[in-house]
Symmetry: C2
Subunit: 274 residues, 2 copies
Amino acid sequence: MEKIAVVGLGIIGGSICASLTKAGYCVDGLDNNTYSVEFALHAGYINAQVNALSDYDVVFIALPPQATLDYLDNAVFKDGALVADICGVKEIVEKTVYSKRRNYRYVGLHPMAGKETSGIASASPTLFKKANLIITYAPQTDIKDVAIFKGYAKTMGFGKIVECTASEHDKKIALTSQLAHIVSNAYVKSPQVKGCDGFTGGSFQDMTRIAGVDEDVWTPLYTCNRENITKELNLLIEHLSKYRDALSAQDDIQLKETLREGRLIRETIKRNND
Amino acid sequence: MEKIAVVGLGIIGGSICASLTKAGYCVDGLDNNTYSVEFALHAGYINAQVNALSDYDVVFIALPPQATLDYLDNAVFKDGALVADICGVKEIVEKTVYSKRRNYRYVGLHPMAGKETSGIASASPTLFKKANLIITYAPQTDIKDVAIFKGYAKTMGFGKIVECTASEHDKKIALTSQLAHIVSNAYVKSPQVKGCDGFTGGSFQDMTRIAGVDEDVWTPLYTCNRENITKELNLLIEHLSKYRDALSAQDDIQLKETLREGRLIRETIKRNND
């Protein structure tokens, strides 16, 4: 059986270990934090600590962007090893991978799963259950390697698995994930938020659930996708201004039309996703 | 036993009927739409159709804002009847109620419950279970009447019940509900939204769940609370611009600090609400 290593035992890395181990694979883990390694061993998420990474056929790198780039550049992989990262930005990772000769095969992964908490204690063998997974490929990618990771993904419990280029990924993710975290983080900054306990329904809960983003994790994600996220932010501000302008101008017909436009788009998305 | 009437058999009115009837009250209903009345009768939500509103001791008006104002102005209530509305805006309703002599007692209600669907078919005896309820009072309000509606609210299953002035309600609701619906409605207007199926996680789902607002229902809510919602929209645009400016200026320290500010506020809200 192939030897699998997971580098980085946070919520995502830990859940990769946990779900693959549960499915019968033998998975070893590696983390700078000895507590995380101990936890993963005790929880039965990993078989052992990784000693030499060059012993492994398959390596999942589950680290933040900069650490991932450093790893891909400097770690010693087995010749022909299959390596995947799980970063929330993909163009920058691909650029690093393909910037020089390398002895490993690479596929990009982005599991659309997580919690408001992080770390190995938040990992779970069912974290990916029915979640979406994005797999990114380049002209250099061997489609057989994509198929192998699709197999692992199904084993881990992922629902929909989509494939695209790193560029397409970064454009879409700027809207579906990165912008959402900024909006939620900005939303709670209204002075009215104080004392709003009891005045909230599901809409406020949904809007603010992810407001508590860890700035150490998210700042690099934004700076690695600066252009796309800036574009989305500008668009949202522009769209929000239309409601504000209609309200200020007392143009209620325009306000209604602006709301209607959004409803019709929402209905199209729902139809496509159902 | 007091005779209770509910005017307007939509999702909220229907659920008031259903939850009070389930608790043993005798509730009659009224709606222009005969289908809604038939549905409520067949579902056992109401005992009978209201014939003369002036026969009832307690009246819940569960209509949109303008229809509520018309009703409060023109309907013939029993002398001393206890009347409540359920509108999502409160100052304008109070203004109508207290603008002239009236023979009924009034208390404002705003149940923080709903679904993405509307109408009697979406009503349920458990819609209000653990939901927040806001009760509004004015200098003219008899606190005994507030207590009576609190009793009904507990019977209906509400969780937290808060009391405040109509003005305080309208300020807070502009943030906790009305702004959220605009943001969600605006969020889906990015061109990237097309083909984002498979590229989404919980954050996108949460952000866009309420995007499909019914413009006929929400336009009047916004226009009745124009000043507060415009203020919140301006604040949000201003806050969002700070992330955009930091990103554009490549000022990553500022970006991190902007994210950190939001996280700290979010943590305070969470602590207060837990």
